[in-house]
Amino acid sequence: MEPNDRLSLDAWANPSSSCNGLPRKMSLENPSFTNFNLQQQEQKWDDTSILNYGIRIEPPFLEFNQASESEYLLSSTCNNQPKVLDQEDGLNNEALQTSKSLDWDPRTMLNNLSFLEQKIHHLQDLVHLIVGRKGQALGGHDQLVTQQQQLITADLTSIIVQLISTAGSLLPSVKHKLSTGPPNGQLGEFLFPPLAGMNCVPQPQHGSGSKAVQPLQHGSGSKAVQPQCVTGSKVSDQCNQMDVTGSFGTEQNLSIEEHEMKEEEDADEGENLPPGSYDILQLEKEEILAPHTHFCTICGKGFKRDANLRMHMRGHGDEYKTPAALAKPNKESSLEPVIIKRYSCPFAGCKRNKDHKKFQPLKTILCVKNHYKRTHCDKSYICSRCNTKKFSVMADLKTHEKHCGKDKWLCSCGTTFSRKDKLFGHIALFQGHTPAIPLEETKGPSLSCDKMDGNEASNKSGNINFSFGSNAGGGAQNIIEVKEDADDPASYFSPLSFDTCNFGGFHEFPRPTFDDSESSFSFLEAP
């Protein structure tokens, strides 16, 4: 039973971890994928891949995992998009609570049961919804209805499975059987937690919940639909289905996709190429990561740039020296209708992969390379200045290094900002935070000021002695003596006797400042 239970725990904890933005804790149960499975489940119930999914062993499944993890990363990094956050927060907080209440005791059971109850209610609502829709039925929705039916069956199945597994956890005899037994049971476990998380929003989903979600979903859905059409109708079916079922777990999915949309580094968001109007190329991983992408067909030498290859080709014979051969290949073909090329990421499950239901193609090979390295590779370039930031694309590192260390606006809490107004916004927001004055400045003036007081004065008095001494023709020996008690005004006068300065006849005058100097002398000794 242990693995089973832990699995379910993982699943329960999942939404909360996504909420907290802890990418490390990401487990397999990415809601989007459970969803995906949910739909596949109806159609190919005994698909092996799903079995694998349940058992968590087979490589394709692992690949899924990676993909889901990356998506989570995306979602967690972009958590501050307010629109999505609201929904996600609400849901996840409740999910968090439930996951907290979960323990290795019968309360788990109770929770499971209550969720089951909610799920049944939920299903009820869904059926209501379908009934309502039937009333105002429009043409061409037969497909929709079948999907809904499928969905309901799937839900029912999952409820049954959940029931079984819940019962199984009570009975030690069944435990063993279950854990090795029907994968469906585990699948149910998988499906459940996110759904349960969703269902924590207690009221009928098509009421307030679905209304809030639907428009958004349409927004993201419609964009995603078009490329999907390329890959096949099955996926688009699923997509439609999601539109209808909105309330089922798609919220999580949606939030993630929203993040993805915003986050994507390649600027082909606005591009709405009609499906089929472009060719999709998919380079292999090795090709993408290869340092050279252009290889000589004759000698096999690799080049980074096609132009270099063309120059290289000249060495292989005169036929490569013609202007036509040397010219850019594109220019030749510019007369013919250009077939737009788009690229797919070879990473299965990635949104940039052509098999993804909301596939978004990449525009150029460079995009593919950068995308692949950024998303699916280790970040091997470490900033040499801060030793914390890591990058997988060299250009990113260089961009960072341009700005690294320039976060000179420092708050007392240790946060740095690249812009002063950001720092002041931060300080205005938090109690007790103050701008931190850079260390050099606090050190700098203090030293210089001290020096001003002491050394400078001493230097000057020393200089005076010197010059006056030289005037008088020999007072240089005074310098050292004066420098010792530099801050003592009395010393200013001692070498500067009126005689040496040819003041002639001023001896008899009172020299009241000497009184002051005495006092100042005592003052200096006092502390």
Binding site: T434, E441, D453
Partner: protein, 668 residues
């Protein structure tokens, strides 16, 4: 202490003061607080008086930092320390102050001090927990670190940072976060402070009452948060060129608590911006628009909701008659109006304004050159309660008009008639203003001793008299003044060429005289000045430029008697090395202007400036710069003295009458 006292009383029964409790003596001392010398005399009576005075004194204004440890020990209850007269205050001094005064100190003025750094300020802020007021104006070398040190003074309520040019938003940010109780902050000329710092002040210091943001490079961005301050009463936005109408128009509401607003020299604010700035500020009492937008009908109309307005200052603005009339219609409770150097002030506008505001107390129409006797007639007719009238250079006002002033405005305390056509008849009439304390009659060429004698006989409260270039005045007038006005504190008789030692001898009876200017009086001699030195012990400022007959003989008594002298100008006189070196013994002496002294040698000058330890400013001829060693100047500068070099040729004095003629040629 009490026991000690009873012991003392048993020893000297004849001292009745010992029977009085300390509180009663303190109360007596409160009454002699006006004159520092009286307090000094009191403390010198006997030991017990000395101790009592030490305990009583709350304010200290030391002249040298060297004496600080001793005087702080002598006066344990000092809570206000004014160090603006110390040429040099270093961190050591601030450490001494903070360790000696500790919690008793609540106010310190470092506005003219230099050579201290954030270390001293930090010690001050950490040790003196009750510090509520710090003046750091002119600390041009302080940086953000110093501001961060100030921010440690958590109880600070008033902070002046004028001209702290190196303090940036970061430092101000520290202060804003640290000093939450701030009620007043002046950031005038802190040109490194921008919207961010000011905005943070407004966000963090909710108690702010008074905010001076003059000449800051701020824009509209910080205004909304400033105007949200609940208690803001006084805001100065002088010379904030970044604020314009467009940004002000975006302001939804003004500040309700605002009582005083100054947008002088804000070139980009017109009446549109002003009206959005003062919308909702129904309790506004003071409005200063000097050198700002033209005062037109539109601007005046934007003032229509300000029923509480008491003071309007429009100095240097272009003014229309319609605008003035409208101001008169909207604001009827004005007590103070300033139209100094306004262009376009006419009889029509001014008279309609003053007839509506009968309670006007202060009126400034300096350089309103278009107004005539008609305006004066209206002013004197309706504003009979005027206490202050400044009307320098109202050249079209005829002499008869001044008779009206004396007849109708008898509560006048301050009257500036510089450069007017007033004659003896006018002066005779003005002498009826028995409360007159300040009378300025500079460049009034039509007055003579006769008129001045009337003033001397009747205006017994006169403290300030300016007769600059009123060449008709001679000894008789001055003697009448010095006899009739024993409280005279300031007199300027520059270029009254007929003045002789007789005037000075009689003025020496005015024991409160602290400012004496007699430039270009060729007939006064060392003898007269010596009499002044002996008689007027409180002399602070002395200007004897171009008094050729004053020499060393006057400097010796000055050095001996005038121990309060702070500022002296001896240019073009006959003072030599000897006299200058004698002056150097005056420990208060801070500023010396020594140009074109024939008897002065470089070494004599060097000795004098070296001997005079309190000097902060010395004005010298460029000629000496090359003759004295550079290290000497560096040394003196390190002591806190600033040298100003002049390279002016020796000038012969103009004929006094010719001066007036020349001036009239310039202004047609």
């Amino acid at each position: 202490m009490k026991r000690q006292k009873t012991l003392e009383t048993s020893a000297n029964n004849d001292n009745l003061f010992d029977l009085l409790s300390e509180e009663i003596v303190f109360t007596i001392l409160d009454f002699i607080d006006t004159n520092p010398l009286d307090r000094k005399s009191f403390s010198l009576v006997c030991k017990s008086f000395y101790i009592t005075e030490s305990k009583h004194r709350k304010n200290l204004t030391p002249l040298r930092q060297e004496h600080l440890p001793r005087i702080l020990n002598r006066y344990p209850h000092v809570n206000h320390l004014d160090l603006s007269l110390c040429p040099r205050i270093n961190d050591n001094s601030l450490n001494v102050i903070s360790n000696t005064c500790k919690d008793s100190l609540n106010s310190i003025d470092l506005s003219k001090s230099r050579f201290f750094s954030y270390n001293g300020l930090m010690s001050l802020a950490l040790n003196c927990k009750n510090l509520v007021s710090i003046d750091l104006s002119n600390a041009t070398e302080l940086r953000d670190s110093a501001a961060a040190a100030v921010a440690e003074a958590k109880n600070l309520e008033r902070l002046w940072l004028g001209r702290c040019k190196l303090i940036t938003d970061m430092g101000i940010g520290c202060i804003a976060v640290g000093c939450k109780k701030l009620r007043l902050i002046s950031l005038k000329w802190c040109i490194s402070v921008s919207d961010l710092g000011v905005g943070l002040i407004a966000v963090k210091c909710k108690e702010i009452r008074s905010l001076d943001l003059s000449y800051l490079p701020i824009t509209n961005k910080c205004l909304p948060s400033i105007l949200k301050l609940q208690h803001l009463e006084d805001i100065v936005l002088e010379g904030c060129f970044g604020i314009d109408d467009d940004s002000l128009a975006a302001l939804k509401h003004g500040c309700q608590s605002m009582k005083a607003l100054d947008i002088s020299s804000c070139q980009h604010i017109s009446h549109v911006g002003l009206s959005s700035l003062i919308s909702g500020a129904g309790s506004l009492q003071q409005l200063t628009l000097a050198y700002a937008c033209p005062v037109t009908l539109a601007l005046a109309n934007s003032l229509n909701r300000l029923s509480m307005l008491q003071s309007v200052k429009l100095d240097g603005c272009a003014v229309t008659s319609a605008g003035l009339t409208a101001i008169g219609n909207w604001c009827i409770s004005l007590s103070e109006l300033s139209l100094s150097k306004c262009l376009g002030v006419t009889d029509e506008g001014l008279s309609s304004l003053v007839t509506k505001n009968k309670d006007l107390k202060k009126l400034d129409i300096t350089c309103c050159r278009k107004i005539t006797g008609v305006s004066i007639a209206y002013i004197t007719n309706s504003c009979t309660n005027l206490t202050s009238l400044r009307m320098e250079s109202c050249t079209l006002v005829p002499s008869e008009a001044f008779v009206l002033i004396g007849q109708r405005c008898q509560f006048l305390e301050e009257l500036d008639l510089t450069d007017n056509e007033i004659d003896d008849e006018g002066l005779k009439s003005i002498s009826r203003c028995s409360n007159l304390s300040s009378l300025k009659l500079g460049i009034c060429l039509n007055i003579s001793d006769e008129g001045l004698s009337h003033v001397g006989m009747k205006c017994t409260k006169l403290t300030e008299l300016d007769l600059y270039r009123s060449a008709g005045i001679s000894d008789m007038g001055i003697i009448a003044i010095s006899r009739g006005c024993p409280g005279l504190e300031m007199i300027n008789m520059s270029y009254c060429v007929d003045i002789t030692d007789r005037s000075l001898l009689s003025l020496s009876k005015c024991s409160r005289l602290n400012t004496f200017e007699s430039r270009g009086c060729p007939h006064i001699t060392s003898l007269g000045l010596a009499a002044i030195a002996v008689g007027c012990r409180q002399l602070i400022k002395l200007d004897i430029k171009k008094c050729h007959n004053i020499g060393d003989a006057a400097m010796l008594p000055l050095a001996h008697f005038s121990q309060n002298l702070r500022q002296i100008t001896v240019s073009y006189s006959s003072v030599t090395d000897l006299g200058l070196l004698a002056l150097a013994s005056i420990s208060c002496l801070q500023s010396m202007t020594v140009l074109h002294l024939k008897g002065l040698t470089p070494s004599g000058l060097a000795a004098a400036v070296l001997a005079c330890g309190g000097l902060t400013k010395v004005k010298l001829h460029l000629y000496f710069k090359s003759l004295l060693p550079q290290p000497l100047f560096e040394h003196l500068e390190a002591r806190g003295c600033v040298f100003e070099w002049r390279d002016k040729e020796f000038q012969a004095e103009l004929d006094p009458k010719c001066y007036k003629l020349q001036w009239e040629d310039i202004v047609p």
